[in-house]
Amino acid sequence: MPDTPFEVEVVRRDFPILATQVREKKLCYLDNAASTQKPRAVIDRLQEFYSRENANIHRGVHHLGELATDAYHDARKTVAKFLNAKSDKQVIFTRGTTESINLVATSWGRANLQKGDQILLTAMEHHANIVPWQLIAEQTGAVIKVIPTNDRAELDLDAYDQLLGEHTRILAICHISNSLGTLNPIKEIIAKAKAMGVTTLVDGAQGAPHLGADVQDLNCDFYAFSGHKIYGPTGIGILYGNQEIMENMPPYQGGGDMIQRVSFEKTTYKGLPERFEAGTPNIAGAAGLAAAIKYLGQFNQADIKAHESALLEYALGQLEDIDGITLYTKAVARTGVVSFNLEGVHAHDIATILDREGVAIRAGNHCTQPLMKTLGVPATARTSFALYNTKEEIDTLAASIIKARQLFK
């Protein structure tokens, strides 16, 4: 059981990069929805793996081959436990959320989609949960339908009820909007889809780091997330899948490690999870991701959530009084992100000016161009929080935004 009390100043000491400076200003890292910083436990794990355990997996009968294989298998077990998956076999290592979704769209899509079938997405999806579906729709003749949002950028659930129909084959939806922080009621949404026999995929890139993920409780068929957004390394991600569905999916990529027997006449494939892991995987990345999950596991999930929610509400309060600001984070259920614009100052100019104060934020469309279109803006400035952020950092953010406003007066 988690037993470490959550104290943000203590937590900050676990992240070496937070003590660095940006042009003699204290680093104020508020771009966590893009990528999170890494605790020493993760950095040390990568170094330890490459210093003492490195070799290829599933091949060498030698000592290091065994250590590397063990590290990789242990990492899979850690992830399965984190997700509350019934079996390790349901956990596939990928390069990240994007590859996880591409795997499902391509492999599941090829086997299950036909002309006239419908793929149901939402208006707030990241391009990673739009474009793979467009690619498979083009190949199969399936059609994409989109659940719209209301004026608070929450999903229109009445419209969802209308859109969910006999032709719907799959629903792919984010847990949390990466652009606005809207928290979707995915459990309820998934239940409705399942009742209609629709396959469901959750983009958990933002959800897993901030809310955790219990795939049995959510009852989704697929769940995807990225290592680097949950305090782990880049280049490693996860696809969780329903075992029965995955066992009936054709391979995604072909190569070594995913085959049983190869001849030029016929090749047979391994079962789960290897069938979907062609080639040498990111072994160190998997070990690093497991270290990140273990690091997070020492805290009570509810404490992290409470801390991040308090930061969000404090930020909204500090920012809403700034002259000329428009806040786009309006959903009643929300977490982790504040998106805004400043009258007369483009988001990129805000980001440049804030950077000179040591404040790192993201400016742009956040890989959600359709959502930006519904908001009627080409770009927003976005601050996003993690467990190591503080109210003082939000004060610095607010003061820096006021400076930007003054410069452009």
Partner: protein
């Protein structure tokens, strides 16, 4: 406010951002092209009226950050009425001042009004913002209708 920021957002830049010159569509243009930076979403369409190898008229329309807007506005002021070889010279000057790594005491003399963009070079992430309109101009002159900064 840091010196770098003051160099970037010089008064002339802020002024062109607030009141962009020649910012309108041109229905009777002979050439036009759209420049897009897909990473940040900036979009600028440049319209030209080319007569006897000379820029008879130029305008732009689009949205983006202060740097891309001001750069486009400055560009239209600078090259209106120039012959094509002179346009090429101005484009070369812009490229040079965006990549040079030393302060030039003769900047104003050498670069003219384009010198207002010299602060951009200390912000590598913003160089594409300053060159977007010029890429669109180049594309229009080559008879292309669009260009993106990611094809470079």
């Amino acid at each position: 406010m840091s010196d770098d920021l003051e160099d970037l957002y010089q008064d002339i830049i802020l002024d062109h951002n607030r009141r962009p010159r020649n910012s309108h569509e041109m229905v009777d243009s002979t050439h036009n092209a759209e420049g897009v930076n897909p990473l940040c979403g900036d979009e600028i369409t440049v319209y030209l009226k080319l007569l006897d190898e000379k820029i008879e008229d130029i305008s732009f329309k689009g949205q983006g950050c202060a740097i891309s807007q001001a750069s486009a506005s400055l560009m239209t002021e600078i090259i209106k009425g120039l012959s094509l070889p002179d346009v090429r010279k101005q484009s070369d000057i812009l490229q040079k001042l965006l990549i040079t790594d030393e302060d030039n005491p003769n900047a104003l003399f050498e670069y003219g009004n384009l010198a207002a963009l010299s602060g951009v070079r200390k912000f590598p992430a913003r160089i594409k913002c300053a060159s977007l309109a010029w890429h669109a101009l180049e594309a229009a002159l080559q008879g292309k209708t669009s260009i993106t900064t990611e094809d470079e």
